[in-house]
Structures are given as structure tokens and as C-alpha cells.
């Protein structure tokens, strides 16, 4: 029984923390947020040099071979810094290739992705569909030994500048499509979160050769999905942690009625609640990350637990922090709104809290969730 980071994980955390704090100061984050495409190729290059593009990918394919706990450590720091980067999309594409790709596909796509030379993005949700997890409507129409894709995918993260898309179809498969392929067009969408952009991507009669459809399908992607949920939950926890710290700092400093506002229980109790929720979220995230690495049979429930809880916390804690800040918290000038926006955006993607709670309800009400007290 040891529920804490190892020295190596602590080192990853402090490296990430220090790098992000110096590289992504507020002014830089705002520059990227205000830019047309939201891209920061130099920043991503530096992250890739630190090994982040392939942190939790197998060494065999050029990754660092570390675990999901390590990945969660990194995502938590990314949330804390609110660093704009394609780490999320890259992680989804990398894990998908790692779990479900063929060796040939891994050689062509995973190895350069893990080294930061190629960027991939998942194109999962169909425009106009209810957005239910795992239910895709785009059909893979058989054409000779390959398939043809027609339709529009939306909520594609970091699509601008991506080298390839991983496109989901109604048969549960994923297909590798180069962003420059004929019939592919990317349209940036307006989003609440300018630090992580979503696009819609059209596929008009795009032909995919047999070598570019991944052999895995359907349930083969669950391990990918659950790991991504943990990573996103970790990012939301970092968002909550930073928002909490901002609130506490402000509450110590800001004076009203002759006292720091943090002396008033209406404010201090709100901060205590934020701490409770942030710590709970962190525990749920690392419990699930540990399960991914050491006890994969308990990952599905643990990942839904973490994603459900962190989905709420990732925007409620910044929201509470805005309330502690009062008027200044509602201004564009203050950074808090960026945290609120990322947190709310995270809450919606890869299953919202309601969707994940439903998975937990399935397990609890079937009696499968009985865990020992210790």
C-alpha cells in the first residue's frame, strides 16, 4: 500500500511544472488563444523534445514506455498551466495505434507520432448525431480492397496542423486518413475554449486503402477510451488546483470591510469546498491511473468514476473561484475564464458526467462494484 507518486513521477511533475510555468506565462497563453489557428508549433516541438509526445507509448515504437500514472501527472500539470498544445489529440491517436494498429501502421504513424514528427487527431463524432459514445454513423463503404468515407466529423480536437486523422465509422473501426488527402476539408469551429480548438472535418468520397484501416474495432478501443478519460480527468484536476490557488491567494489579499475577505466564512468555506472537490478529484484520477497500469480489469469503473467526478470539478471549481474574485473574476483581463472554459469543455468530451455516472450505476446496481474497504 503506497498511494503517492514515486520519485521518478515526482521528477516528471516538477520538470513539467517548471517548464510550463516558464514557457506558458499568461501573456503567451493569451497570444496563442487570440491567434487564428490556436497553434504553437515551437511549444509543441519543445514538449516533444521532453518526450511528452510519446510519454505513455511503448518504447518499441519510439515512446517513453511510461504508464498512465505518469501520463496523468503530465496532464494534471498541463491543466494547471493551461498550456495550449495538441497533447490530447496526439495521446488519443497514439494510444489507438498502440492498442489497435498493425505493426505496419505503427511503423508508419506511431513511431513518428511518438517522436513528435507527425501529429494525429481523432475524428470520432458525426456532425448532427446525438454524440453518444461509441455510436458512429459515418459508413465505411466497401470499395475494392479498401473503403470510401463520406460525411462530416465534428468536435475534432487540434485538427488545424494535424498530419492525419483517425476516423471512426459505424462498423466500430478506425481509419487513417492524411489531412492532405483528396476530399478532406477542415473547418475551424467557434468554441468556448480558445486554448483548445475544435474543428469539423468533411470527408467527401475519401478512399482509404486496406493498409490504412486499423485491424481493431469496437470494444478493442475501450482501453484507449478509458485511458483518455483518465488523462482528461487529470487535466481537469490541474485546472481545479490552479483555480483554487488563485482563489486562496486573492482571498488573503483582497480587503473589504477592513479585513481580508478570506477571513469571512462565506468565502473561506467556499475555498474549503473547492479543496475538498479538488482533492477528491485527484484521488479518483490517480486511483484510475493506477488501475490502468496495474489492475486493468478495474479500469472501466475507475475511469468512469474519475471522469464523472472531474468533469464536474473541472468547471465548478473555476466557477467558485470566479465568485471569490467578484467582479475582477468576470473580466476578460483575469485569466480565470480560460480555466472555466477549458474545464467546461473537458466536461463535455469523451463522455460527460451523466454518461459516466450511468456506467457507474450499471456496475453498482448489478452488484459488481463491491470493493473491499481496504
Amino acid at each position: 500500500m503506497y498511494f503517492d507518486l514515486t520519485d521518478e513521477q515526482q521528477a516528471i511533475k516538477s520538470t513539467a511544472h517548471d517548464f510550463l510555468a516558464s514557457r506558458f506565462k499568461s501573456e503567451r497563453m493569451r497570444e496563442i488563444a487570440a491567434s487564428d489557428d490556436g497553434l504553437d508549433p515551437d511549444g509543441w516541438k519543445q514538449m516533444a523534445e521532453l518526450g511528452w509526445a510519446g510519454l505513455a507509448l511503448p518504447e518499441e515504437w519510439g515512446g517513453q514506455g511510461l504508464g498512465i500514472v505518469d501520463l496523468a501527472v503530465l496532464f494534471e500539470e498541463m491543466g494547471y498551466a493551461l498550456a495550449p498544445s495538441p497533447l490530447l489529440s496526439n495521446t488519443v491517436a497514439g494510444l489507438a495505434l498502440s492498442f489497435c494498429g498493425s505493426d505496419d501502421q505503427r511503423e508508419r504513424y506511431l513511431r513518428p507520432l511518438a517522436g513528435g514528427e507527425l501529429r494525429g487527431a481523432p475524428a470520432l463524432w458525426d456532425a448532427g448525431s446525438p454524440g453518444t459514445i461509441g455510436e458512429f454513423t459515418m459508413e465505411a463503404v466497401v470499395d475494392g480492397d479498401g473503403v470510401v468515407l463520406n460525411g462530416e466529423k465534428t468536435l475534432v480536437p487540434d485538427a488545424a496542423g494535424a498530419d492525419f486523422f483517425l476516423v471512426a465509422t459505424s462498423d466500430g473501426r478506425r481509419h487513417l486518413v492524411d489531412s492532405g488527402a483528396e476530399g478532406v476539408s477542415v473547418r475551424a469551429e467557434a468554441g468556448i475554449d480558445p486554448t483548445r480548438r475544435f474543428s469539423s472535418v468533411r470527408f467527401d468520397g475519401v478512399r482509404v486503402g486496406a493498409a490504412d484501416s486499423l485491424p481493431g474495432s469496437g470494444a478493442d478501443y475501450y482501453p484507449v477510451f478509458h485511458r483518455v478519460c483518465v488523462a482528461l480527468a487529470a487535466e481537469s484536476t490541474g485546472i481545479a488546483q490552479r483555480s483554487l490557488e488563485m482563489a486562496v491567494e486573492y482571498a488573503k489579499d483582497r480587503q473589504q470591510f477592513g479585513r481580508p475577505i478570506g477571513a469571512y466564512q462565506a468565502v473561506s468555506h467556499r475555498c474549503a469546498q473547492m479543496l475538498l472537490e479538488t482533492e477528491n478529484s485527484r484521488s479518483a484520477v490517480y486511483g484510475a491511473a493506477w488501475a490502468a497500469d496495474a489492475e486493468p480489469e478495474s479500469l472501466p469503473l475507475a475511469a468512469s468514476t474519475a471522469k464523472a467526478y472531474a468533469s464536474d470539478v473541472g468547471w465548478r471549481v473555476p466557477d467558485a473561484s470566479i465568485q471569490v474574485h467578484g467582479g475582477i473574476g468576470f473580466t476578460w483581463e483575469h485569466d480565470l475564464h480560460f480555466f472555466l472554459k477549458r474545464g467546461r469543455s473537458n466536461a463535455a468530451i469523451f463522455g460527460d458526467a451523466k454518461w459516466h455516472r450511468e456506467r457507474v450505476a450499471d456496475a453498482v446496481l448489478a452488484g459488481a462494484a463491491e470493493t473491499a474497504a481496504i
Binding site: 500500500m1 503506497y2 498511494f3 503517492d4 507518486l5 514515486t6 513521477q9 500514472v69 486562496v248 482571498a251 488573503k252 479585513r259 481580508p260 478570506g262 477571513a263 469571512y264 466564512q265 468565502v267 473561506s268 468555506h269 475555498c271 474549503a272 469546498q273 479543496l275 475538498l276 482533492e279 477528491n280 478529484s281 484521488s283 479518483a284 490517480y286 486511483g287 491511473a289 493506477w290 497500469d293 496495474a294 489492475e295 468514476t305 464523472a308 467526478y309 451523466k354 455516472r357 450511468e358 457507474v360 450505476a361 453498482v364 446496481l365 452488484g367 462494484a369 463491491e370 470493493t371 473491499a372 474497504a373 481496504i374
Partner: protein, 392 residues
């Protein structure tokens, strides 16, 4: 990071599990408090005979010298199997540890063994009618008279005072000293003329707690634990004792309740199906499960921190608050699921689950008050963990 037990810890858990399964005396009698106490005394004798009483105590004082993880395993397993509480809970969890930490050799000689056997029950005389959260403002006076101290005042919320031989009493010995400095920790014999106990009937109709009135009660000088005037420090260590293990009992208890809640939801019909098929109830049950899971994992983190540094981390101070929230929400949801039947209590022919949830709902109202109110815990967290300024 490793959330599993080591082979030797697993062996310990199996030993605890098997022993409890073989010796569990079944549910407590429903009759009256006297019957319950007799049942618990018998259970404690059994625990003691097998070496399970005072497992955190050092071996030389009759305990088992168990590690923190072993304590957590034992408490968690006992709660999971819904084993009865031993009769002398406060003696085992607070009295013994405080005597071991601050007592003289003579006190250790005199008090420890009867705590372990349950022969002498202990109670705790801290709270007073005018000193609840602000404990250090307590007014019960102790005045020196030769080699005795004469005590007058009133205590309240004194659990099982009517059965107790000894009271861990904090009284003011120096009214002129600053409030935390003028207190002394005594062991008061409850069986004397100057001490009167009166049950305090709580909202469940039971009388777990008492008022204790002291009118010139006498305590020999030899019954002071620690120094005269050092009572606050001794009392605080008492309160800190055994907290680590308790969390795991609370978690197992909540997991049991969640299991019962799931069964209730499957039985109760709503909108042509069971409550377990109703989205609203499913969402709320899932949320409770999620929160219980965060509480369990927080306790693991707290245990790791405490074992590393000897000091609980910030998440350690959150557990009691969280437990109260979850336990209250859980019983509230159960009554909501029962719907129109919620008013029917134990004994009513048409009561759901023989009114168990009605009792749980009422009893859990105290959870956010007893042992430190949630409001005060939030103050403590704000001040000591977050470093926010004090209001006072």
C-alpha cells in the same frame, strides 16, 4: 504507487476475516440499551481473549502492536462484516492511548487491563452546555483540597456515561490563565456521590448520550494525566488517536449502506419499473458511489502520508466532513426512493425495510455535528490547510 496489500498484509486480513466470520455473534439485540451493552461486553471479552482488543496498543501494554495498515484492515473488516462494537469503545480508542502516552507507570498498571477486558467502561467528559465547538472555554471547575481535587460543573453529550466507571474529564484548574492553559485532564471515578448522570433523549428517541452533573465530586491528585494546566494538550492527543483506522471503518460502513441502497432501489417500484431503472435515482446512486470511492482513495493517500511523515496530509482532515455528507445524502436518498412510505417507521406493518432507513436518516443528522461540526472543520481546513486568515 501500489494500491494493493502486501502478502503479509493479505495474510493478516485473511486471519481477521476468518476469525470474525467464525466468532461473529450476529446482530445486536433490538430490545434496550442495557441488553445491547451486555451483548457488547460479552463480545469485547471474546475479542480480548483472541488478542483483538486494543490492537494498536503496544504489546507490552496488552495490545497487539499492529501497524497502521493492520489497524485499518481490522477496522475495515469488522465494519464490513458488521461486527458489533466493543462495549468500551472510548476506553480502547482514547482512554488507553492517552494513559499510554501521558500516564504514570502506576496509572498504566491500574487502568489498562480493565479497559481491554471491558470490565471498566470509560466515557469522555469534554463538551459542556456552553462549550461545544469552543471547547477550551469550558467552565467545569476543579479546586485543590489537600491531595484531592473537588470538581463542580456539567458535561454533556457523554456517551454511555450511565455505564462508565471512569470519565476522561477536562476541567478548569486555573481560571486566571489564558483559556487553553488553565485546563487539567483528570480520570474521574463515576461511581461516587457527587456525580449524577441523566440520559439525553435524542431525535431517534434513544439515549446514547447523557448529561453529567458534578457537585463537589472528588478526584485524587494521582488521577491527573499529564501536568496540572496541561490538559488541553493531553485532550488534543486523545482526539487525534486512532483516527487513521476509524476512516476505514466508516468507509466499509458506507459501502454496506450503498449495497442496501442498491437493493432498496431494485425493490421499490416507480413509473412501472424499479427505482434502479429510473435515470434520476440511478444518477444519484452513482454519484454517492463515486463520492464514497473518492473518500476511500483519500484515506489511502492519507495513510501513505501519515506512514511517511507521521503527520496526516490535508486530505486527512477532509474525511470526517465527507463521511458526514455522504452518510446524510445516502439516507436522504433512501427516504426519497421510499416515496409515500417514507413516514412509516420501525414497527409499522407497511414500513419499508422495517423502518431501518427512517432510523438512519434521523441518526445521521448528528453526523455533521458529533466529533467536530462540519462548519468548524471547514474553518480548520481554511485556516490550517489553505492558510486563510482567522476570523477571530
Amino acid at each position: 504507487m501500489d494500491l494493493t496489500l502486501s502478502p503479509s498484509e493479505e495474510e493478516f486480513r485473511d486471519e481477521v476475516r476468518t476469525w470474525l466470520e467464525e466468532n461473529h455473534p450476529g446482530p445486536e439485540p433490538e430490545a434496550g440499551l442495557d441488553e445491547v451493552m451486555a451483548f457488547r461486553r460479552e463480545w469485547q471479552l471474546k475479542l480480548h481473549a483472541a488478542g483483538w482488543a486494543g490492537i494498536s496498543w503496544p504489546e507490552k501494554y496488552g495490545g497487539r502492536g499492529a501497524t497502521m495498515i493492520e489497524q485499518a484492515i481490522f477496522v475495515g473488516e469488522a465494519a464490513r462484516q458488521e461486527a458489533p462494537s466493543p462495549a468500551n469503545v472510548l476506553g480502547l480508542a482514547m482512554g488507553g492511548p492517552v494513559v499510554i502516552a501521558h500516564g504514570t507507570d502506576a496509572q498504566k498498571q491500574r487502568y489498562l487491563e480493565p479497559i481491554l477486558t471491558g470490565e471498566e467502561i470509560w466515557c469522555q467528559g469534554f463538551s459542556e452546555p456552553e462549550s461545544g465547538s469552543d471547547l477550551a472555554s469550558l467552565k467545569t471547575r476543579a479546586v485543590k483540597d489537600g491531595d484531592e481535587w473537588v470538581v463542580s460543573g456539567q458535561k454533556v453529550w457523554t456517551t454511555f456515561a450511565q455505564y462508565a466507571k471512569w470519565c476522561m474529564l477536562v476541567a478548569r484548574t486555573d481560571p486566571d490563565a489564558p483559556k487553553h492553559k488553565g485546563l487539567t485532564y483528570f480520570l474521574m471515578d463515576m461511581e461516587q456521590e457527587g456525580v449524577e448522570t441523566k440520559p439525553l433523549v435524542q431525535i431517534t428517541g434513544e439515549g446514547e448520550f447523557n448529561e453529567v452533573f458534578m457537585d463537589e465530586a472528588r478526584i485524587p491528585e494521582a488521577n491527573i494525566v499529564g501536568e496540572v494546566g496541561a490538559g488541553w494538550g493531553v485532550a488534543i492527543t486523545t482526539l487525534m488517536n486512532e483516527r487513521a483506522g476509524l476512516a476505514f471503518g466508516a468507509i466499509a460502513q458506507i459501502q454496506n449502506s450503498l449495497g442496501r441502497l442498491a437493493r432498496l432501489a431494485k425493490e421499490v417500484r416507480v413509473n412501472g419499473g424499479s427505482a434502479a431503472e429510473d435515470t434520476y435515482y440511478r444518477q444519484r446512486i452513482a454519484q454517492l458511489h463515486i463520492e464514497a470511492e473518492t473518500m476511500r482513495l483519500n484515506a489511502y493517500r492519507g495513510l501513505t502520508k501519515t506512514m511517511q511523515s507521521g503527520i496526516p496530509g490535508p486530505e486527512g482532515s477532509l474525511g470526517k466532513w465527507q463521511w458526514a455528507d455522504i452518510n446524510q445524502n445516502l439516507t436522504e436518498l433512501a427516504l426519497e426512493i421510499e416515496g409515500a412510505y417514507a413516514p412509516l417507521a420501525r414497527g409499522a406493518e407497511n414500513a419499508v425495510a422495517n423502518g431501518a432507513w427512517q432510523y438512519g436518516f434521523l441518526r445521521s443528522r448528528a453526523n455533521s455535528i458529533e466529533g467536530g461540526t462540519t462548519d468548524i472543520l471547514k474553518n480548520i481546513i481554511a485556516e490550517r490547510v489553505l492558510g486563510l486568515p482567522r476570523l477571530r
